[in-house]
């Protein structure tokens, strides 16, 4: 049984998008499905959250885009991770590790 979709926590969408692009360039739908896949269906990113985030991250220089052909031969806009994006992913990963570690520690405390 697939897990129930959960609302994304503040600041985690950027991390998930950056993480999904590590394996290579992808279009919006590909990123959305990849996030769904790597989180085991826990997070489903709707276009209303995905596209504003993609464009903001492109403005920040973390990802870049180009037009290409999709698997169904449709013209699609692809996104790829940039060097600053890789650094951002590292920073976000470390930040998230600290947060999740602290939360886990807090929950285990007696």
């Amino acid at each position: 049984m697939a897990p129930e979709p959960t609302t994304l926590l503040q600041g985690t969408l950027d991390l998930l998008i950056l993480r999904s692009l590590v394996t290579g360039e992808m279009h919006g739908l590909g990123i959305s499905r990849r996030i769904e896949q790597i989180t085991g269906g826990t997070f489903v990113v709707k276009p209303g959250s995905l596209f504003p985030a993609l464009h903001r991250m492109e403005d920040e220089g973390w990802i870049s885009s180009f037009w290409g052909d999709s698997e169904n031969n449709r013209r699609a806009r692809y996104y790829r991770l940039t060097k600053p994006g890789q650094r951002q992913l590292q920073a976000e990963t470390q930040r998230w590790a600290r947060i999740s570690g602290a939360i886990a520690q807090a929950l285990e405390a007696s």
Binding site: P47, F51, D59, E60
Partner: protein, 218 residues
């Protein structure tokens, strides 16, 4: 590097707005089509697949607006758009524009005039003789590039001003003078002024009380 990228994004969002918008429109429609393809891949009929895709995407214009809100320089672009819209509207209704500008000009001019008269005549009238002819004079040390008046003058200098000035009818001098006034066991700080004896003639006023007789030297 990130700063340069942001500047480039800002430039693109502001000055290549049409191209950015066209790209966004194409991207959103391509996404819709891919959602439809995906849905049809699960065996849904075209109509049903299209409906499902539209539900997942949400409102196209709403989505585009959400993207615009996230763009760098969006607020600046909104201000520019509002200004352009305003100018277009003004140009479209030239008669209305001219009447508005005329009404504003007359209104501001009239208000300023009335307020000036009210301020000088009622709120803070300056009740002295020939108030419009009064001016302040002083000595400036131009050799030391100073723009400030010298602060102290000797009475002989004031007398010389009075005797030799050709553009001035009369000259008065004053300085601040604070003193402690003691009366019936209590004291009070009094803020006063030391003035040259021609002061009352100069202002065109009589002394409120007491004598006002001084040697005529200064």
């Amino acid at each position: 590097m990130p700063f340069f990228v942001k500047v480039r994004s800002l430039f693109r969002n502001l000055f290549l707005f049409r191209s950015v918008e066209s790209d966004l429109d194409e991207e959103v429609h391509a996404h819709l089509e891919m959602l439809k393809d995906e849905s049809m891949g699960t065996g849904r009929p075209v109509k049903e697949a299209e409906r499902t895709a539209r539900i997942e995407l949400g409102g196209i214009e709403q989505l585009k607006e959400q993207v615009r809100d996230e763009r760098i320089g969006n607020w600046f672009h909104s201000v520019l758009s509002d200004c352009r819209f305003g100018l277009r509207q003004l140009r479209k209704n030239l008669g209305f524009t001219l009447i508005s500008i005329l009404a504003l000009a007359l209104g501001i001019g009239f208000s300023t005039t009335v307020f000036s008269i009210f301020y000088n005549g009622v709120l803070y009238p300056f009740p002295y003789r020939d108030a419009q002819r009064l001016t302040v004079i002083g000595i400036v040390d131009t050799q030391h590039n100073s723009e400030r008046f010298r602060e102290m003058y000797h009475l002989d200098e004031v007398a010389a001003f009075r005797e030799q000035a050709q553009s001035l009818e009369d000259v008065v001098a004053y300085t601040g003078w604070d003193t402690l006034y003691s009366h019936q066991g209590t004291s009070e700080q009094v803020h006063g002024c030391v003035v040259t004896p021609n002061m009352l003639d100069f202002w065109g006023r009589a002394a409120a009380s007491g004598p006002w007789n001084f040697p005529a030297r200064c």
